[in-house]
């Protein structure tokens, strides 16, 4: 029974493989891009920009990642890419130290490594596409929050999960900035929403009734902003309690127009993806080397390089006046 079965399987596998590999045999440059969490709208919009760049440059783009932020899975995917022999790996690191081992291994195999969105250890990659440092994000968030409430009063934060590393970083810098510059403001609570919009709404509702003096809710995960906005809207506190945070224009447009959400802060994520691909290809073709001062891209012109950081530019503040101009 065993031998015929084996033979049958082998034959089937050969047949199928010839079909499958035939279509993959085009020898395009392969850039693999790893988001923190694939389902997150933030990274989906990154992918849109990356796709555009990939088409312009005629390369193959692999875009894969964990469905939830998970450092272990990120490592596994990178290691898979190493054995797949891709040309460039671009990573948004969930965990700095954790991913770096895998990235160093990739470099050893001659694969070019970039980081975007969140950096790894400096020796584990060539360049970091710096959309904004955690410090910069924290500052911008806090400054905008202070502007909205006149630098005075209580505010609360909604975070993705209690264990998401980048958000803890942002939160840290928000708190640093708060301490330095806004003594009259007070952070009264930090609640997790497990990256669930519905849970963010429940949490925000509870925050509102628990803290009657609350002036503002800052959500630093993208499902959190519309969730908090819906809570404020339902509580009838539109305008009285400000909502702001890190989020995507499309998910928040209706709340911004309704005056519930005041500002949504984000860099142009599409551009981030676009720039990452351009940088990756340049790196693979040896057009981008250490010490370069700028990088030219197709549609977006050139970007400045500072050390090993390629700068995307400052975070962008979307509000009623400009949000309709963006679609991502």
């Amino acid at each position: 029974m065993k031998n015929p079965l084996l033979r049958f399987c082998a034959a089937g596998a050969v047949l199928l493989s010839s079909l499958l590999t035939a279509s993959a045999a085009d020898s395009k440059l392969i850039v693999a891009m790893l988001p923190k969490s694939k389902g997150n709208a933030y990274f989906i919009s990154c992918k849109a920009g990356a796709d555009k760049a990939a088409k312009e440059l005629g390369i193959q783009l692999l875009f894969d990642g964990p469905t939830d932020s998970n450092a272990a899975k990120q490592n596994e995917i990178v290691e898979n890419w190493i054995t797949l022999g891709v040309d460039v790996i671009a990573v948004a690191a969930e965990n700095k130290e954790g991913i770096s081992t895998a990235l160093r291994k990739a470099q050893k195999q001659g694969i070019k490594v970039l980081t975007y969105d969140a950096d790894a250890m400096a020796d584990a990659r060539s360049f970091f596409i710096n959309q904004a440092t955690p410090q910069g994000i924290g500052q911008t968030l806090m400054d905008e929050a202070a502007r909205l409430v006149g630098a005075e009063g209580e505010f609360a934060m909604i975070v993705g999960s209690l264990t998401a590393a980048n958000q803890r970083e942002w939160q840290k810098y928000v708190e640093v900035r708060l301490k330095e510059k806004f003594p009259k403001m007070k952070l009264v609570a930090v609640r997790p929403c497990d990256d669930l919009k519905d849970k963010a709404q429940s949490e925000a509702t509870a925050l509102l009734s628990a803290n009657p003096k609350l002036k503002l809710i800052m959500a630093i995960c993208s499902p959190g902003v519309p969730g908090a906005a819906e809570a404020v809207k339902q509580a009838g506190l539109t305008g009285k309690v400000k909502v702001m945070g890190l989020g995507l224009p499309n998910e928040n447009k209706r709340y911004v127009h309704a005056g519930v959400t005041d500002s949504v802060i984000l860099w142009n994520t599409g551009d981030l993806g676009y720039l990452t691909i351009y940088a990756g290809v340049a790196l693979a073709k040896d057009e981008l080397k250490k010490g370069a001062k700028s990088l030219k891209t197709g549609a977006l012109g050139s970007f400045a390089i500072e050390g090993d950081n390629i700068l995307l530019g400052q975070p962008f503040i979307f509000n009623q006046s400009n949000i309709d101009r963006f679609d991502f």
Binding site: S17, S23, S27, T83, L84, G98, S100, T163, A165, R168
Partner: protein, 362 residues
Amino acid sequence: MSTAAHAPASFNRYRRDWRALLTRHEMLLLYVLIAEWLFFYFAGTSTNRRGVIVGFGTWDRQFDILRHSCEIGLLALALTPVIITAGIDLSVGSLLGLCAILFGKLWHDAGLSIPVAIGLTLGIGALAGALNAVLITALRLPPLIVTLGTYSLFRGLAEAITRGSITYTDFPETFLFIGQERWLGLPTQAWIFLLVALAMGLLLHRTTYGRAFRTIGLAPEGARYAGLPVERRLALVYVLAGLIAAIAAIIYTARLGQAKADAGTGYELFAITAVVLGGTSIFGGTGTIVGTLLGVAAIAVLKNGLACLPVVMRLNAAEEMSGLFTGALLLAALTASVLPKILSNLRPRRHSSTQSIPPLSP
């Protein structure tokens, strides 16, 4: 007296038939695994632009699969005896997280040396398993509910202790060796995994403990009437599960170089799937370590192999596809396991109904 009828010759013939029957599930799984592997070997291997052979059919890939399977594999090993006694332990994934951060804390905050911290962590794992054990054996509570509670509790404690954010990193190279390097040709943790597998295999198949687990799973009352120490054996199973979860935590930490409260989230589900896929009956009594290993391998090969397929790569959906296929594989395995019984029941129609719907087992 017809003692002559029991000549050893006739015994041997029967034994062979029976063995074949027992191993049928494992053999089927082995065929599936081989077919899977061959398929991915041919379909998932190619030559890249620089003329290097890449993809599934490389040694590196095989080692990676092994490396990535160790933690879930360990949890599956821990769960095999649990499920053989007709129990279940949902808390192992959470316990992995708790042990990981306690290990980090012991080393980083308490300043203990790595070996001492490892020792203490294993102790904590066993202790946490003992909590499950006490609730299940002394209070006779259903394992499903007890471990559902500790599933929340352990993860919650991990988050509370680290306030969610603390991540322990910068472990010494010597420690990371366990998770990131190779030793004697294989990834270091694979040796630990194989050692635990061997130990569990021996425990389950070569000692009186394994006998007791099986008997308890098949007939808990019968085991009591045979004078077996039912409570003590059951307790042992859960303590062992805790201990192995702690080992998995150490390996996890060493592989990623970090200890964080979210370690091992959702692993319990994959581990249970692997065990059931490996032919261990969720009603208890039957199951082998070899089956569990094959189950783990089938899932791991599927997951990693899919990620190497050009079609799947183009869809950017390796993880979803592997989840989808794993679920389907599990359903197929379950259905295949009852199909012969269903078919044979179809003929004498009414008899079957006396043995009613299986209740929720654990």
